[in-house]
């Protein structure tokens, strides 16, 4: 789908106006900018209204008619509100038109009475000729499915929320939507009901033993549910405490007396965390070296001694020098003799080994001894490498331990200084010392809640294991009555079908998650700072991580990077849909498509650097992008980045209508338009 033109008549503050979107491949962005309240959000709503009869305004959602026109209209007269969108889809040109009439009842009626909206979709048959399609609305929903609407027509200020642990559901839903998986989800839920009905029937005819198993299963399920609720309650509590801790930190940073101390304290804590992370990495290196190297270190003498003994036996022909033909073949294939000499084809040594093949007998001991001697040769070298790594790691630990002690002392000193700031703030607010104490209490509480969560998760795991055992017993139970056998078969069939659909659902969902993850990561890394990376985790969280030393830590929410990552996620879905469409696969769920992105205010409250980064990312998000932006966001880096890549540019000139009896109105002024003839 590629958007061509949007025409508005009497739609909210637009008396009339037309926008030609850029359909150029290289300059795929259309920019529409205007001051706050000029009508950007109205334009976003114009798209959704014409296509789906959906509009979402802050005020007077039902009042679509232009205020000035209805006021001026004579009583009894009718005004038509019209939005028309022309677009291309799969080589055909379409024209979607939605209208609604407003009839002015009397002189005092400034709203008009709204009639029934009507919709038409026409397809161009030849230049200037349009054929009306019989099921226009249905066709529109096939071209751009309703469920994808919020992915491709969105308010940029809202999408920042996609990043962060609280929004797994949105990410998961978006991934399901892009593949049309919601239909499978409904089937799973339906099959659950079916299985429940058969289960009830089975229980009715089952014997006491089976009924007892069912009762046990129910109890376990209830206990698991209770544990899950308890875990969730504690997680909410932990999040609440984290928010409070963050809030206190911000407060302390904003109080003049404590500002510098608090900032220094946070920096010291970050340093402590980074040193600890590095210490863990060094310990992990040591563990992995020790796990085999420890044995090598202690056994090196016995290896060397045995190797020398065996060599002596070999020299004195006490081992049986013959080796197997297979072993000689291995040496020839490897191109290296046990003595370390290269065995190049046609060389003297190669031929000697070849000749030995005709003489070989069977002596496993001799062969084992040759292998042992060869292994001993590199054991010494391996030990030297190990010793070097162990010594270096110990030295690094030493340095890090000193740094850690120093940082801990710094933290203690800064905390002491904060404790001394006992005077309340200007407006009688808490003193820095009181705030710090409150934060410490919240931190202790959070630690205790986190431990509870861990314990509850363990307990739930135990219950789940018990549940698996009871479910297996139920599976294996034998039935006396025929009705019970039949009901059990049906019940199991429903459960099995559900499990199979669930498994396919999870597989597809996970495959799409991985694709989205790769794309988000590539897109994000191409634009963001080199020490940052974005990923969609196995739990469907869009996370941004920052490299600190050799380790990665999670970046906090609310940064410009979250906006970039969220946009990259939308871009990844557009790309997946496009790829699927171009692959031309037969799918029962979703055949993909090429979709435009229409975004309102993608720059939010970002600083200039992040605005520049977002502006650079925008053209890569899809094949056609329409950006609605305030004048304040447009200036500076955004304008300089986007001027050359935009194929069309419009200004929304807003006249608030004060002064001379006029009404608020927005006119669309063309700044730049690429002319394309169709």
């Amino acid at each position: 789908m590629k958007l061509e033109t949007l025409e508005l008549t009497n739609f909210r503050q637009f008396k009339n106006g037309k926008i030609d979107f850029s359909t150029d491949q290289d300059r795929n962005v259309t920019v529409i900018h205007g001051q706050n309240g000029a009508g950007k959000t109205t334009l976003l709503n114009a798209f959704t209204w014409v296509l789906y009869e959906e509009a979402n305004f802050d005020t007077r959602e039902d009042r679509l008619v232009n205020e000035g026109q209805i006021t001026k209209a004579a009583p009894g007269s009718t005004l038509t509100v019209k939005v028309q969108l022309t677009f291309f889809h799969e080589n055909d040109r379409y024209r979607a038109t939605r209208t609604v009439d407003y009839t002015k009842q009397n002189n005092q009626d400034l709203d008009g009475e709204m009639g029934n909206p009507s919709f038409s979709l026409e397809q161009q048959s030849s230049p200037g000729n349009w054929d009306r399609l019989s099921e226009g609305q249905k066709r529109v929903k096939q071209i751009l499915p309703d469920r994808l609407r919020s992915l491709f027509f969105f308010d940029g200020e809202d999408i920042e929320e996609l990043a962060g642990v609280d929004n797994q559901e949105q990410i998961q839903k978006a991934i399901q939507n892009i593949m049309g998986l919601t239909i499978l989800e409904r089937s799973i839920s339906h099959l659950k009901q079916v299985a429940d009905e058969f289960e009830a029937e089975y229980r009715e005819y089952a014997d006491d033993e089976v009924e007892e198993l069912f009762r046990n299963r129910d109890k376990l399920e209830q206990r698991i549910e209770k544990k899950t609720d308890q875990i969730q309650t504690r997680k909410d509590k932990r999040d609440e405490l984290s928010d409070r801790i963050e809030e206190i930190t911000t407060q302390l940073e904003n109080i003049d007396e404590s500002s510098d101390l608090e900032q220094a304290l946070q920096a010291a804590k970050e340093e402590r965390s980074s040193v600890n992370t590095e210490l863990e990495a060094v310990d992990s290196t040591l563990s992995s070296e020790l796990t085999k190297g420890g044995t090598l270190a202690l056994a090196l003498p016995v290896i060397k001694e045995t190797s020398a003994d065996l060599e002596e036996l070999q020299e004195n022909d006490l081992l049986g020098s013959e080796v197997s033909a297979d072993f000689l073949d291995t040496l020839l294939d490897r191109g290296k003799c046990v003595c370390g000499r290269p065995l190049e084809e046609h060389s003297m040594y190669y031929e000697r080994v070849e000749d030995l093949k005709s003489e070989v007998g069977v002596s496993d001991i001799g062969e084992t001894a040759v292998r042992l001697i060869a292994a001993a040769e590199h054991a010494d070298e391996d030990y030297r490498d190990l010793e070097k790594t162990l010594l270096e790691s110990l030295e690094r630990r030493h340095t890090l331990a000193d740094e850690l002690a120093e940082t801990k002392q710094k933290i203690a000193d800064l905390e002491q200084e904060l404790d001394n700031l006992t005077l309340p703030g200007d407006s009688g607010t808490k003193s820095p010392a009181e705030l710090k104490k409150e934060r410490e209490e919240a931190e202790a509480q959070r630690e205790s809640v986190s431990q509870d969560i861990g314990m509850l998760i363990e307990q739930r795991k135990g219950l789940e294991d018990d549940l698996d055992a009871v479910s297996a017993d139920l599976e294996n139970a034998r039935e006396e009555q025929e009705q019970a056998t039949l009901a059990k078969k049906r019940w199991r069939a429903a459960l099995q079908t559900r499990a199979e659909i669930e498994s396919s659902f999870n597989k597809v969902q996970n495959a799409v998650r991985k694709l989205a993850d790769q794309r988000v990561s590539t897109m994000f890394e191409s634009i963001a700072h080199k020490d940052l990376s974005a990923e969609i985790t196995d739990e469907f969280e869009l996370r941004i991580r920052q490299r600190v030393g050799d380790q990665w830590t999670e970046l906090s929410k609310g940064t410009g990077e979250t906006q970039i990552a969220s946009l990259a996620f939308i871009g990844s879905l557009v790309a997946i849909a496009r790829e699927r469409y171009e692959k031309d696969t037969q799918s029962s769920y979703f055949t993909g498509g090429i979709y435009p992105i229409v975004m309102d205010s993608p720059f939010g409250a970002l600083d200039d650097d992040h605005r520049r980064q977002v502006a650079r990312l925008i053209p890569d998000l899809g094949s056609q992008i329409i950006v609605l932006v305030t004048d304040a966001q447009w200036g500076g880096p955004v304008e300089s980045e986007m001027e050359d890549i935009s194929g069309a540019m419009y200004t929304l000139d807003f006249d608030d209508g004060t002064g001379d009896g006029n009404y608020p109105e927005t006119r669309i002024r063309t700044e730049k338009a690429l002319k394309v003839d169709y």
């Binding site: 420890g294 056994a299 045995t306 010793e387 162990l390 110990l394």
Partner: protein, 145 residues
């Protein structure tokens, strides 16, 4: 058919170094460390495998070149008989006897409750290893030990 496993007991050292602190990733790796330790101290528990609880498969030894080498070398030094190089049963028995002793030594050496078990084991390995005294600059090690 040759025996494909040997029995051994897991004492407190296994619990600390494998289960709790994960200094060693697997029981097999720690078992082999203990066997090498027991042998280097020339201490073993005769027939420690008799009545022991846990099973150690020969395939786990055979699957790692170093472990197979150590197993054969210890067995050869014990018997001075080259035939033992292909006798997995006897090799397993020697390993189990030395590992039982090594585990007791490890339990004593690493019994101190502290949070630096990885450091302790590393220093212990460097101190115990007579492997390359000639190459090692003593000052390097003594500074860190």
């Amino acid at each position: 058919m040759a025996r494909d496993h040997i029995k051994y007991d897991r004492n407190v050292a296994y619990q600390r170094l494998v289960d709790e602190e994960e200094v060693f990733s697997t029981y097999v790796e720690f078992f082999m460390f203990c066997a090498a330790l027991g042998y280097s101290r020339d201490e073993k528990v005769p027939q420690a495998y008799k009545g022991a609880e846990h099973k150690l498969l020969w395939s786990h030894i055979e699957g790692t070149e170093l472990f197979e080498t150590v197993s054969k070398c210890i067995a050869y030094q014990e018997t001075e008989d080259p035939d033992v190089l292909d006798d997995q049963e006897r090799q397993l028995e020697f390993l189990a006897e030395y590992a039982a002793s090594g585990a007791e030594i490890a339990a004593e050496e690493f019994e101190t409750i502290g949070d630096d078990l990885v450091g302790m084991v590393t220093r212990f390995v460097l101190e115990e290893s007579p492997g390359s005294e000639a190459e090692r600059s003593e000052s390097d090690v003594s500074n860190l030990l």
